[in-house]
């Protein structure tokens, strides 16, 4: 393998990109665009849920003549950014609003709620169907959207806990959670490394697939094989070019993630870029391999669902591998982006270094070597 010929190929890829504004746009704007789209979709919490409160509790009069109402305290502790609170007196009318789709939930406080708590010193609890106990808050809601249901339940539970602590009532059992990693981490923090891997994988595979179908149909590939250029130098030249392009894309993506979506980056960004560059090299070799199966650009585009879907589902981009059915998990370990996403997440969110992520790096190197060899062989095979 001759380095100067290899770099000549790399240089040519860059000249080609530089001359074509559309390709520049695809390479630079696509990751930024993707970051905005996914970022906006995933950074939002559940907000503005129409919630109706029916409070049958009238509180108690304390010996000093002050009206004490635990229900009102709980209500005041509800998270008002999650809920748009409306008060109604009639339970039936309130439920009808949920039935009509005008509200998501009715929160009902029973009669003599405060009184019963003071008499029995029982901590209030949430229930779906009232058992008649006067310390139970009933939520009648639309549970068809799980996110919203969980947000309402969570908000009410938090409000109860806060209220009880304010009252000096501590629940008998309590969970203390001290984050070892990911303090204040939001879902967006989890998703960004995934998006980074996914976008670089997708764009690199697609760009090399199209570039190589072009090399084949225009005759340049064959012409080059009649020159001193070797197949391995051709593949190597492309690998260097797309390794660099992939890193630039990852940098742009991360910049948007940090500046716009304020994600927390703890680890070494450059280590993450090395991981992304490795993934880009694997992806470009995959693009070359796939180009063997397409005779025209039109045929190549038909591969896009096969490039996107398995990785989207299996590689832990949007949900952890642990959320994938056990029987499917072995397949996750067959798609290279799984390792890149895992490594980037560990580096960016936990600050892990090479000593901890080396198994992922090793897996990516094995994939890279294997795919580069196969890509080189696939170019030779055409000589039949």
């Amino acid at each position: 393998m001759n380095l100067s010929r290899t770099l000549t190929v790399t240089k040519r890829v860059f000249k080609d990109v530089k001359n074509d504004k559309r390709t520049i746009a695809l390479i630079l704007i696509a990751p930024i665009f993707a970051m905005f789209v996914f970022g906006l979709a995933f950074s939002g919490n559940v907000e503005d849920v129409n919630t109706i409160i029916v409070n049958h509790d009238s509180g108690i009069i304390l010996p000093n003549g002050e009206n004490q109402s635990v229900s009102n305290k709980i209500i005041s502790n509800l998270n008002t950014s999650v809920m748009n609170i409306e008060y109604m007196d009639s339970e039936d009318a309130a439920v009808q609003k949920v039935v009509d789709g005008k509200a998501y939930a009715v929160i009902i406080f029973p009669e003599n709620f405060t009184g019963t708590i003071y008499e029995t010193a029982i901590t209030p609890s949430i229930t779906g169907n009232s058992s008649g106990s006067n310390t139970e808050i009933t939520i009648k809601d639309d549970e068809s959207i799980v996110n919203i249901k969980n947000a309402i339940d969570g908000s009410v539970a938090d409000a109860i806990t806060t209220t009880m602590e304010d009252q000096g009532v501590n629940p008998p059992v309590k969970i203390n959670s001290y984050p070892i990693y990911g303090q204040n981490a939001q879902f967006i923090d989890f998703v960004v490394p995934g998006i980074m891997g996914f976008i670089v994988y997708l764009l690199t595979t697609l760009l090399t697939l199209l570039a190589f179908v072009g090399e084949r149909t225009s005759g340049t590939l064959e012409r080059l094989l009649s020159t001193p250029l070797r197949e391995s130098e051709m593949v190597g030249g492309y690998a260097i070019a797309f390794g660099i392009i992939g890193t630039i894309q990852a940098a742009f993506l991360l910049l948007v993630a940090v500046l716009v979506f304020k994600i927390t980056v703890i680890g070494n960004v450059f280590l993450a870029f090395i991981v992304v560059a490795l993934l880009a090299i694997v992806s470009q070799a995959l693009g070359i391999l796939l180009s063997n199966l397409a005779k025209t650009e039109g045929q190549a585009v038909q591969f896009v669902p096969f490039i996107i879907l398995p990785v989207f589902l299996l590689s832990g981009v949007f949900w952890p591998i642990q959320a994938i059915p056990v029987w499917l998990r072995p397949l996750s370990y067959l798609v290279p982006p799984t390792y890149a996403v895992d490594a980037c997440r560990a580096v960016l969110l936990k600050g892990w270094g090479l000593t901890k992520i080396w198994p992922d790096i090793l897996a990516l190197i094995v994939f890279a070597v294997l795919f580069l060899l196969l890509a080189t062989l696939s170019l030779k095979r055409r000589k039949d």
């Binding site: 100067s4 010929r5 000549t8 240089k11 040519r12 000249k15 080609d16 001359n19 074509d20 072009g214 225009s218 005759g219 340049t220 064959e222 012409r223 080059l224 094989l225 009649s226 020159t227 001193p228 250029l229 070797r230 000589k383 039949d384």
Partner: protein
Amino acid sequence: MENEEYVICTSKLTKKFGDFTALDNLDLKIRKGEVYGLLGPNGAGKTTTIRLLCGLVKYGSGEAFVLGSKIPDHSISDKIGYMPQETALYKGLSVKQNMEFFGEIYGLSKARIDERISELLKFIDLEKWKEELIINLSGGMKHRVSLACALIHEPELLFLDEPTVGVDPELRVTFWEYFNNLKQNNITILITTHYMDEAKHCDRIGFMKSGSLIAEGEPKEILKISGKTSLEDAFLEFSRQVKK
């Protein structure tokens, strides 16, 4: 083998694509410094011959030697120039960038590349267009650039697959003058063409049909043997004889 004398020497060269026999016991011998024209209808095996001699296609049986090496042999690749039938240029690069790229692939120095580019741009008459992207050029212009890319490293042996398609008559004359000049420098050229009248510029021509040579010789000689006045009629005559 008579490798010394012949730059290209094949014996009983056979190549099949599935059931189709592209080359059928082809015996082709081309001397150093010769301009050899391969003529024949589509599918006669002209392009396959060139691709095979460039080491791009594996052959079934027989033998082929190019520049004294049994092919395929990667080590001769810097001594040959190949201009494929399809334009085979990078559409997204400019005329100059394409020429630079091929120059660098052949390992020429930066200074030598610049020198060759200005010489060749003059020859193909595209000096004004050197910064233009290939995608914006006409078919004939692309062919000229493609030819320049095949010549950039001053090869000893040139394979030209239909180099004059889409090139206007005036420039075609220039091309042939240039090819004959190259001959002075002992450069060997194997050329295929559809234009029978052009073939008279060749030192020798070979008529190909169904993967083998049906007649070969100097253009004048061929006309004499066939008793015809044009190479086109001569080809038809030989073709008719083979059928019998």
